[in-house]
């Protein structure tokens, strides 16, 4: 089992969700986050006050998957979140020690398998 954590562009979220859906990956959480990678700066101006926006808006996806789903999940995100410009984001694949489904008490692979 792995936890796939992906940081992506907010405007790519819809395409990523579509791609994951097509890859039959279910069960994910998203959160809006702010962060900084290697992007070029963005300048905004408000009535003579000029500011550099150091943090940019991103979306973080967390997807718990069984091992044979890791590859399709990562491929789907890679293909759908890419623009080729700096700032497309990152995908982290983390080991997972234990998973429980709260409703049934199922464990591990059974707990990350979508309910039919």
């Amino acid at each position: 089992m792995k936890l796939v954590v992906a940081i992506i562009r907010p405007e790519k979220l819809n395409e990523v969700l579509e791609a994951l859906f097509k890859a039959e990956v279910r069960g994910l959480s998203i959160s809006r986050v702010q962060g900084h990678g290697g992007e070029t700066e963005r300048v905004e101006t408000y009535r003579g006050t000029t500011v550099k926006m150091e943090l940019s808006e991103k979306v973080r996806l967390e997807i718990g998957v069984s091992d044979h789903f890791v590859e399709p999940t990562v491929r789907a995100i890679l293909a759908s979140a890419r623009t080729g410009e700096v700032g497309d984001g990152k995908i982290f694949v983390l080991p997972v020690e234990k998973v429980y489904r709260i409703r049934t008490g199922e464990e591990d692979t059974a707990a990350v398998t979508p309910v039919a």
Binding site: E39, E44, T49, E54, L55
Partner: protein
């Protein structure tokens, strides 16, 4: 004086004055028209809130700026040239240049077109507020994707090339007025014109990159309701001010401007209830605008009871065109065509149905035994549609040849606020680092917001 005939006649009769060659200056009329002009001006920032609420939060400033900038660009174009093209001279198709740069527009109660009882300058600027809102209305079709510089060039030229001639034809003693087509406060000049131009602009620009692929939802429905409220308030100046006097017909126009949208709200809500079991807020706000548009050409030509009827009937075509549009491949983003074009046509035709000489002192419609009026109204609608469509199309191609019309897909994805204006509507300030004035900005121009995320 042929071309002066209709408006002068209209004014004299509607104002309840004895028909006179040179009406006297009236302090009462001037007082009302000062207020009405301010009311109509308010409609444009109101439209900014209406449209601004309907787009996604990353595009709200750009959308509102399209209306707010019309308050500058179109107003200046109007004062320098547009007014002279629209409302001067004896021509049937276009005005002459006698008022260019506001020459000969003074404080005497004299306009070239109409005998007026208010200062000429006030008359000019009242008419200017109509040109401003009409251009701003068109923006609803191109939001979330049109480059801002291209938009500025487009609406400035549009107010001169499309709006001014139509105003001349209908209100300036032009050939549509001679034909006997009646348009009290701008059903044809403002709403059909803006609706058709919006339709053409949406087709020329093409659909937004997310159109039909993801749900594009309004980011602030309260903004939409706020905008609708202030549009309605401003519309009292728009319709009742179109009597050009503090007169009985102004009173009738104001009453009808309350009653017709009220009936549209009721009819719209009932359609909503029967179709889906729920009345929506965006729908109700739309109904207000539709009702206002429907009554505009007829505001002082029909009785209050028929204003109610017109408002109720007017709900149907716009409602169903809205439903159709959302399913079609046409990205008229904020439904300017359905709300203004379709409702404008409905109102223009119904004016020919419900007008009564016993009410307006001028002409009869179908129900008063003059079916020909419906045909005349329909012909005027057709001519306005054809001219607005053709001229807008040519103008957009011209502007597109000078500067690209569309933002890149990347700019569109990032949002027009940051890419076109370097501002955000809802910013927390987190991660914003103050740039000291001694540290010069790169080339005085923000870098393209490109790789910022």
């Amino acid at each position: 004086m042929k071309n002066l005939r209709l408006p002068a006649f209209l004014l004299a009769l509607l104002a309840g004055l004895a028909f006179a060659e040179d009406p006297e200056f009236s302090a009462a009329d001037t007082a009302w028209m000062l207020v009405a002009t301010g009311l109509v001006l308010l409609m444009t920032p109101a439209l900014a809130f209406f449209y601004g609420g309907l787009v996604r939060s990353k595009n709200v400033l750009n959308t509102m700026m399209m209306s707010f900038s019309a308050l500058g660009f179109v107003a200046v174009a109007w004062a320098l040239l547009g007014y002279s093209l629209a409302l001067s001279g004896e021509g049937n198709f276009i005005g002459d240049l006698r008022y260019i740069f506001l020459n000969n527009v003074g404080l005497e109660n004299k306009g070239a077109i109409a005998s007026i009882t208010i200062p000429h300058l006030l008359w000019m600027v009242f008419q200017g507020t109509f040109a401003i809102i009409t251009a701003a209305l068109v923006s609803g079709a191109v939001v979330e994707r049109m480059r801002f510089p291209a938009f500025l060039l487009f609406i400035t030229l549009w107010s001169l090339v499309v709006y001014a001639p139509l105003a001349k034809w209908v209100w300036g003693g032009g050939f549509l007025a001679d034909l006997g087509a009646w348009d009290f406060a701008g059903g044809t000049v403002v709403h059909i014109n803006a609706g058709i131009a919006a339709l053409v602009a949406a087709m020329v620009l093409g659909v937004r990159k997310d159109f039909g692929r993801q749900a594009i939802l309004p980011h602030s429905v309260p903004f939409v309701l706020l905008g609708a409220a202030f549009l309605w308030f401003g519309w009292f100046g728009f319709n009742a001010g179109s009597a050009w006097a503090a007169s009985t017909s102004a009173g009738l126009a104001l009453a009808n401007t309350i009653l017709a949208p009220a009936a549209t709200i009721v009819a719209w809500s009932l359609i909503d209830l029967f179709r889906t079991g729920r009345v929506t807020a965006v729908g109700l706000a739309t109904a207000i605008v539709v009702g206002l548009v429907v009554i505009t050409p007829a505001a002082a030509f029909v009785s209050p009871l028929f204003a109610l009827v017109m408002g109720a009937i007017g709900a149907f075509p716009s409602y169903y065109v809205l439903l159709w549009r959302a399913r079609s491949g046409l990205d008229d983003s904020l439904d300017v065509f359905a709300a203004h074009g379709v409702a404008g046509m409905t109102g223009a035709i119904l004016t020919g149905v419900f007008a009564q000489e016993s009410v307006n002192g001028l002409f009869n419609g179908l129900i008063a035994g003059n079916p020909a009026q419906v045909l005349i109204q329909a012909l005027a609608v057709l001519i306005a549609v054809a001219y607005s469509a053709l001229a807008t199309f040519v103008l957009l191609k011209l502007v597109g040849a000078i500067t690209p019309l569309r933002a890149s897909a990347k700019e569109e994805g990032l949002g027009m606020d940051v890419t076109q204006h370097g501002e955000e509507a809802y910013t927390s300030g987190e991660g914003a680092i103050l740039v000291r004035s001694e540290a010069p900005l790169p080339a005085g121009k923000p870098k393209p917001a490109g790789g910022t995320d």
